[in-house]
């Protein structure tokens, strides 16, 4: 009977396919190292989920084959620096699967976005490894050696453009002096944007969250930019830097942890967008997606309660 509509496994797979363009851009600019992270992450995710399902007394095959653990691992793997040591992704995925999903009862029961929970854990516990981003294309051999601890990474890393802009602003430079969006960030974000539009067309995700999230980013950054264009970056910058597009189409749209009513989704997405800009500008970390999403995850039951649509006849 479900002929025209996708089932859960197909939904997860479509999301994974839609990530290809953005990941491709990452590979183009920074090398194949991200694939190593993805591979490590997936193996850890499947193993962790299998062990935990066995501990919980559930059957393993149906739950693993729905692809949600693999999706979590991939999202986390592309959010961290691609030359981070191997244990970073492993610990992150372990935390995400165990504390972000399994202890709540598995798929469908988690209140927080697992990938973002893992990212937040990593960022707070290992700030050094999480802020050393590759600044140029790194060959696969060099990357593998770095990831597995066989050689150092000096001279290869730097801050992201967001981080750079933030520190420069703190040091008093003005926006005009710092310069515009980095090319790599631009193309990576465009890759995710195209993937996201594909998902919208295939009706895998609904329009409310991506559109409202991007609107929130634009709204908040425009307000700040109009107040003082010297010290606040423009909307375009915020839209096309960091993980904005990834957040809008892939992270905030995780149906399990997002709001469920149409109006609720709009509020949820919009507030995430606003928080992303606020934390970027005033918070202590360069990118804000993880914290913004997690904070809004907490408010989802409240949003859902107050945005119940009117029933026919009441």
């Amino acid at each position: 009977m479900q002929a025209n509509f996708l089932n859960t496994n197909q939904i997860m797979r479509q999301v994974i396919y839609a990530l290809v363009l953005g990941v491709g851009a990452q590979i183009y600019f920074f090398g194949l190292s991200v694939l190593i992270q993805i591979l490590l992450g997936c193996i850890t995710a499947v193993a962790a989920e299998a062990i935990f399902l066995r501990l919980r007394g559930q059957t393993i095959k149906p739950s693993i084959s729905d692809g949600s653990a693999v999706l979590t691992a991939i999202l986390l793997a592309i959010s961290i620096p691609s030359i981070a040591p191997w244990w970073v992704i492993v610990l992150g995925v372990l935390f995400a699967i165990i504390f972000g999903k399994q202890i709540f009862g598995g798929l469908g029961n988690n209140p927080f976005n697992p990938a973002m929970l893992g990212y937040a854990f990593l960022l707070i516990s290992y700030p050094l490894q999480m802020t050393q981003w590759p600044s140029e294309f790194i060959s696969i051999t060099h990357a593998s050696e770095t990831i597995f601890g066989l050689s150092s990474i000096d001279g290869l890393t730097g801050a992201t453009k967001l981080d750079y802009v933030k520190t420069q602003l703190m040091m008093g430079a003005s926006i005009k002096e710092i310069g515009s969006i980095s090319v790599s960030q631009l193309w990576i974000n465009i890759g995710f944007l195209v993937g996201g539009i594909y998902l919208l067309f295939r009706r895998v995700i609904l329009w409310q969250i991506p559109i409202s999230l991007l609107s929130g980013v634009v709204a908040m950054s425009s307000i700040l930019f109009l107040m003082d264009s010297n010290h606040y970056a423009s909307s375009i910058f915020h839209l096309l830097s960091g993980a904005t597009m990834l957040a809008a189409f892939f992270i905030a749209t995780d149906p399990v942890s997002a709001s469920t009513t149409p109006l609720g989704r709009i509020i949820y997405g919009f507030l995430i967008g606003i928080l992303i800009v606020i934390i970027r500008v005033y918070g202590g970390y360069p990118d804000a997606v993880a914290f913004a999403v997690l904070l809004l995850n907490i408010t989802v039951p409240l949003i859902d309660f107050y945005t119940q649509p009117k029933v026919l006849g009441k």
């Binding site: 009977m1 479900q2 509509f5 996708l6 089932n7 859960t8 197909q10 939904i11 149906p62 729905d66 949600s68 598995g106 798929l107 469908g108 029961n109 609904l206 149906p255 399990v256 997002a258 469920t260 009513t261 149409p262 989704r265 859902d304 119940q308 649509p309 009117k310 029933v311 026919l312 006849g313 009441k314």
Partner: protein, 505 residues
């Protein structure tokens, strides 16, 4: 002009399309098995005995409440059994049925007495009674007794005839309209007269072009409008239809008659016409037979109580194991085997090739179900509450307004049988409410009994007290008498002694 399209619902393609829709008349069945428990109301009580000879149209079971209608013999013959037989119900439980073996003659009861063509001269109450005595209930599936519905709808301004047949795959109403368009129109005219309404709207979906043409051909009454609405599943749900056609929202918990509207299924109208004008009670109906295991979908006019196997003998059935569904793909129930009989609300029987049952996965909170609910409920929330048996919260989210249309289960990516969960929680709510009422009653009776025993005890004690006091008083009275006597005796004695002393000196 109200919007002809409503929020929610689904456009579903007919899974069993056919080129021609014909109402095929089949020979009389050899036996009929008539169920006594109809969809609503108390069980009907058989008024015939085994071995008795009955005529077609004779009442064989009477009812004692207003929420169902009497049962009639659908063929003439001998009553061979009054016993338990499995019902076409998802519980698989058995219930009382009357079995009649046909004598092949189809002898009718006397159909000359009644309102006939001169129904306009009859009182409305007479006609209601005729409808009741003819056993007419809603034939669209709900089975609500028509006479009660019409009585509650007295004074309605608008009548809606539901000819939408929105559930995909069912075509019995379309076949009926193409076969008897005049009966439909004249039936509506009878309705208009009885109810005293201003106008009637026959609502029909735009995929039934042949039926629309036939009805238009025979309808030349200004008070009857044939309104074509877009084909979309649940357009035929009563409250949705009323909103679509007239823009009126029936408040939750109330009925269409409360807002001045009477809504009847088109097959019910035809049955009502037969009862009022031709004095024939409800003894047959149109049934759609279709499915992936049946070569061509067909519509049969069949006597009530005929077995499914009898019907299936008229179609090309593929060999192999089958999945049997009654009453539609969306709102129907799965049955085991085919050992059932046609009842008043059997509108279709689908026989599909047996497929592997799909395993349900976890709910991923995608919210697709919320977007398709035609009553604008939140199926996802109702699912979570039903799963945790939190009936209170489910009621807060308007559980009882769910029309169990199945749109939500249809779109669920995890194949969760959502409607089953809502049926479960509705049944649980009904059970809990009844249990609470019973517990309250038991507590009241217990407390009254305690009070009664206390009262008995204190009455006895009071009685004892009163008796004691009476006795004491009596004793006291006796004492004063005794004292008087003693005093008198003393005086007498004293007097005697005085006398004796006088004598001595």
């Amino acid at each position: 002009m109200p919007n002809s399209n409503f929020k929610g619902g689904l456009k579903i393609e007919n899974p069993y399309p056919s080129n021609e829709i014909d109402l095929i008349r089949i020979p009389l069945p050899d036996k009929v098995v008539l169920p006594m428990q109809q969809r609503i109301g108390n069980q009907a009580i058989p008024c015939v005995s085994i071995g008795e000879h009955v005529l077609t149209g004779q009442i064989i079971a009477t009812i004692d409440d207003d929420r169902c209608a009497p049962v009639h013999a659908s063929i003439s013959g001998t009553v061979t059994a009054i016993g338990n037989h499995v019902y076409a119900h998802q519980s698989g439980l058995k219930g009382l049925c009357v079995t009649i073996e046909s004598d092949g003659k189809d002898e009718w009861v006397d159909t000359s007495i009644g309102c006939t063509e001169n129904y306009k001269a009859c009182l409305p109450l007479t006609i209601y009674d005729k409808i009741r005595i003819s056993g007419i209930v809603g034939m669209g599936g709900a089975g609500f007794p028509t006479h009660t519905k019409m009585r509650l709808a007295r004074g309605c301004k608008n009548i809606i005839i539901n000819a939408t047949e929105c559930e995909p795959g069912i075509t019995c109403d379309a076949a009926l309209m193409q076969a008897y368009p005049t009966k439909v129109i004249r039936g509506v005219e009878v309705l208009l007269h009885i109810i005293g309404a201003e106008k009637a709207i026959i609502a029909i979906e735009d995929d039934k072009q042949d039926s629309i043409n036939e009805l238009n051909k025979y309808c030349n009454n200004e008070r009857i409008e044939i309104k074509v609405i877009p084909t979309k599943y649940t357009s035929g749900a009563e409250k949705i239809l009323i909103k679509t056609l007239l823009g009126i929202q029936v408040p939750s918990g109330k009925f269409a008659s409360d807002v001045g509207i009477l809504c009847l299924n088109v097959a019910t109208v035809v049955a009502m016409f037969d009862a009022v004008v031709e004095n024939r009670p409800l003894i047959s109906r149109a049934v759609t037979l279709a499915g992936s295991a049946i070569k061509e979908p067909k519509n049969f006019q069949v006597r009530l109580g005929a077995t499914y196997d009898y019907l299936l003998s008229f179609v090309d059935l593929e060999e192999g194991s089958h999945k049997v569904t009654m009453a539609g793909l969306m709102m129907g129930i799965n049955l085991k085997g085919t050992d059932y009989s046609v009842s008043k609300n059997t509108n279709c029987i689908f026989i599909d090739k047996a497929q592997e049952s799909v395993v349900a996965q976890e709910c991923i909170r995608c919210g697709m179900c919320n977007t398709v609910c035609p009553v604008e409920l939140l199926p996802q929330q109702l699912y979570w509450f039903s799963k945790s048996e939190n009936i209170e919260k489910a009621m807060d989210y308007n559980l009882l307004d769910c029309i169990e249309c199945g749109c939500c289960s249809y779109v669920c990516p995890s194949n969760i049988p959502l409607v089953d969960y809502y049926q479960f929680s509705k049944a649980l709510y009904k059970k809990q409410t009844q249990e609470k009422a019973q517990i309250e009653k038991a507590r009241e009776r217990f407390e009254f009994r305690e009070m009664r025993l206390e009262r008995n005890k204190s009455e006895r004690a009071a009685l004892m007290e009163a008796k004691k006091i009476a006795l004491k008083e009596k004793m006291a009275k006796d004492r004063s008498q005794k004292e008087k006597i003693d005093a008198a005796l003393e005086r007498v004695n004293a007097a005697k002694i005085d006398n004796m002393e006088e004598d001595a000196s």
